[in-house]
Symmetry: C2
């Protein structure tokens, strides 16, 4: 062990902390979270000083055009009630139900042989994020609440703030009474890009990577590790307006899905329109609602031609699309528009171009809606509702670890449940498998009342 | 699309078939399975002829020492009641509950906005397996029952048999009445190693790889794809005999875990012994039970010395261990033995050397057992029961897709539930996210009676 590099020591320490975390109770976890909140409040001055250092350095970068002003804004945790909301966010997590120790299967294999499937922490998380220092606090608390150890790596713009926040959390853990101790290595921070490369190789110590940041960050991680990644690179959400759509609902959903917060992953990027809507003035009405909301439309030939009579003040917002537009996450007030013959063609388009995030059909025909929602392979399939509802808080999870476009483990907005897996606990009395089988003992396979099981 | 290579066409066809499979009912899936059983029975002669071709070629390989006789045996599906058991296995799968369309969350976000989390097929599976041609039938039927499309690649020794079995399944799907049609591309077979290399790259079409075969096969796949792999490379299960173990239970569990089927992944490979057992004759009694069952012991110095007085007829079965022995999956009648000071050292050893498969503590002390079962990070944590119980059929799942040592998605013996994920279905009435928030509408987040939801 002495020959381990520093980064392997970090990962090994996280693994050891995660073992200790297995037997911590929900009460102990909540006490630790409230202690973290308290020490954060006590050391506000120190935290703000570190944040000022980061902001000063970042200001120079902004002046030199090396850093965007929006990134600078996200760096600031001193402004307004930002710090207070970080503190109340910590307390909010204590009110969430413990996702561990839940029994999802209980079977009596034989009179003296019982099997339970119980939720347990995934183990060790690696979180890589950009700019926002509050992620240190938020993800550390979500990890602790779910019984996971976490290794954090933030952006270098926030390195002073991140380091102090992590230190404060470690000190808070260290100051807990001995009988509810959580090792301070449950939360660790690393600093360099080389550390990340090394950690992404350490699948024997790290169980899940939770990236928080840009498309390119997530793609880099997905392409450079065998460790499961919880997250999404793309959010290419589509809307299909069917021929039997209610026009008012269509206008409202399309405008909200595109304009409510264009930079979000659950905003719509592609509008598919049933060809019959181009024969009436319905498509023009929907398009005009978007145009009036300031949206630029990238239209295929049919939809472009259908807008030839659009009000002259909107002319400049309408252009012909390229193939690439249908694979583009615009993240601003731009949407790609395309005609389709029917719901099947809409589904085909979404399967080929979508990112399995959230897709919506707008129709009054229930059978067409069900056809769409069954066949579209996305984390969220919506009928007559804005794609913007795809969010952990809106779903009522109380916290959002991230949004996943994976096809395994956790999908869509992910709450604390995404940070747990299960183990089988088997309780015997000296049982041997060789005693069961043809002509021997038989398995009972009776369901046990799970309320009888307490761990 | 026309520029797609043949293998991309195969993968795309699987994806398209998986879309069609989304709306197939359980009744239709069971009808398809029974039709497959029927056509397999009808074309038994053709299947046996293909199997004879494979066996004839394999015989030559065995004669030349290029193929093991055990591999040859696994190739044979004509022998005894093997074919009949393949057929009854197909029917057994129809009796399993449909793992899809299960609702795990139902929330009223607002009066006219409802959210449901519903289990759905993962999508497209890729199965790579060796020798046993019955995997073609078994995995195709498990895939169909769970609504997944599957691409199969078997060992070249069984290529004729595999090809005919896949053709028969496709013909059976093709012969279904139009109203319950499942596209024949739901089951496809590929032949070459190059095909596999290409498919392992196609994460945009393939959602999960399910390897069935040797440690080296699984490791190769895990190291060469970004697609999630459901399975296990290693099965390094450990037994810890605590100082408060009941001697009779210990002997029974240790012998069964090692000898019941040594080649299985759930057989024990390491025996950890509390040091106090070496002071009495308890360790010698356990060791003698293993030796009498034909097991060779690779002992550390302390346990080796403790066996200095062992019956002379067993002398040759006892040797000193090397470090490597504690990382070795022997898969035969050999076990590595080591003394530990206490349960904590046993846990540390298992975390460092185990494979997160199944580990067992033998003790009469409930608090020590709970400490072990909480802290050992394995799919199965057992107290006083043989590790050999870690099996889908023994757990009562009715089918076993594989055993997973992953930390996400599915863990331990995996039944049909491992082949599904969920999607969120959201039902609105023209709802916009911009209408909710501070000073606007509030989310209700009320739990809905799930019985009201039918899809």
């Amino acid at each position: 062990m002495s020959s381990d590099s520093a980064i392997v020591q970090t990962a090994r320490a996280a693994r050891q902390a995660s073992v200790a975390l297995q037997s911590v109770t929900d009460k102990q976890k909540n006490e630790a979270l409230l202690r973290i909140k308290q020490v954060l409040a006590e050391r506000k001055t120190e935290i703000f000083e570190a944040n000022e250092v980061d902001k000063k350095l970042a200001e120079e970068q902004v002046a030199q055009g090396k850093l965007s002003s929006s990134l600078f804004k996200r760096l600031d945790i001193c402004n307004g009630d930002k710090f207070d909301s970080i503190l109340s966010g910590v307390e909010d997590i204590t009110h969430l139900p413990d996702p561990t120790k839940r029994v999802s299967l209980a079977t009596k294999l034989d009179d003296d042989l019982e099997l339970y499937r119980v939720s347990v922490p995934v183990g060790v998380l690696l979180t890589i994020f950009e700019a926002r220092p509050e992620v240190v606090v938020n993800i550390s608390c979500l990890a602790l609440k779910s019984g996971n150890a976490v290794i954090l790596k933030g952006g270098k713009e926030a390195s002073h703030t991140n380091a102090v926040l992590a230190k404060v959390i470690q000190d808070a853990l260290n100051s807990l009474p001995a009988d509810s101790s959580i090792p301070k290595e449950a939360v660790q921070i690393v600093e360099t890009r080389e550390d990340i490369s090394a950690l992404l190789e350490l699948d024997r110590f790290i169980d899940m990577v939770v990236p928080r940041g840009s498309n390119s960050l997530v793609k880099y991680i997905q392409n450079n590790t065998r460790i499961p990644v919880l997250g999404h690179a793309d959010g290419l959400c589509s809307l299909f307006v069917d021929k039997d759509a209610d026009l008012e609902k269509a206008k409202k959903i399309v405008v909200d899905s595109k304009t409510n917060y264009p930079a979000a992953c659950n905003s719509a990027e592609t509008l598919l329109v049933h060809h019959e809507l181009l024969q009436s003035d319905k498509f023009a009405a929907i398009a005009t609602a978007l145009l009036a909301a300031g949206v630029s439309l990238r239209c295929d030939t049919a939809t472009y031609n259908a807008l030839s009579n659009v009000d002259s003040k909107f002319k400049e917002q309408v252009s012909q699309s390229t193939d690439e537009d249908y694979d583009t996450e615009f993240l601003d007030l731009t949407i790609a528009v395309k005609v389709v013959q029917d719901v099947s063609e809409a589904i085909d388009h979404i399967i080929e171009h979508g990112s399995k995030h959230t897709d919506c059909i707008i129709t009054e025909d229930a059978s067409v809606a069900e056809f769409f929602m069954a066949r579209v392979d996305a984390a969220g399939c919506y009928w007559n509702a804005s794609t913007r509802f795809a969010d952990g808080f809106r779903y009522g999870f109380g916290a959002e670890v991230g949004v996943s476009t994976n096809k395994t483990h956790a999908r869509g907005p992910v709450g604390l449940e995404g940070l747990v897996i299960y183990k089988y606990r088997c309780y015997g009395n000296g049982n041997a498998a060789g005693d069961y089988g043809s002509g021997k003992k038989q398995y009972l396979h009776q369901t046990i009342d799970q309320n009888n099981y307490k761990i």
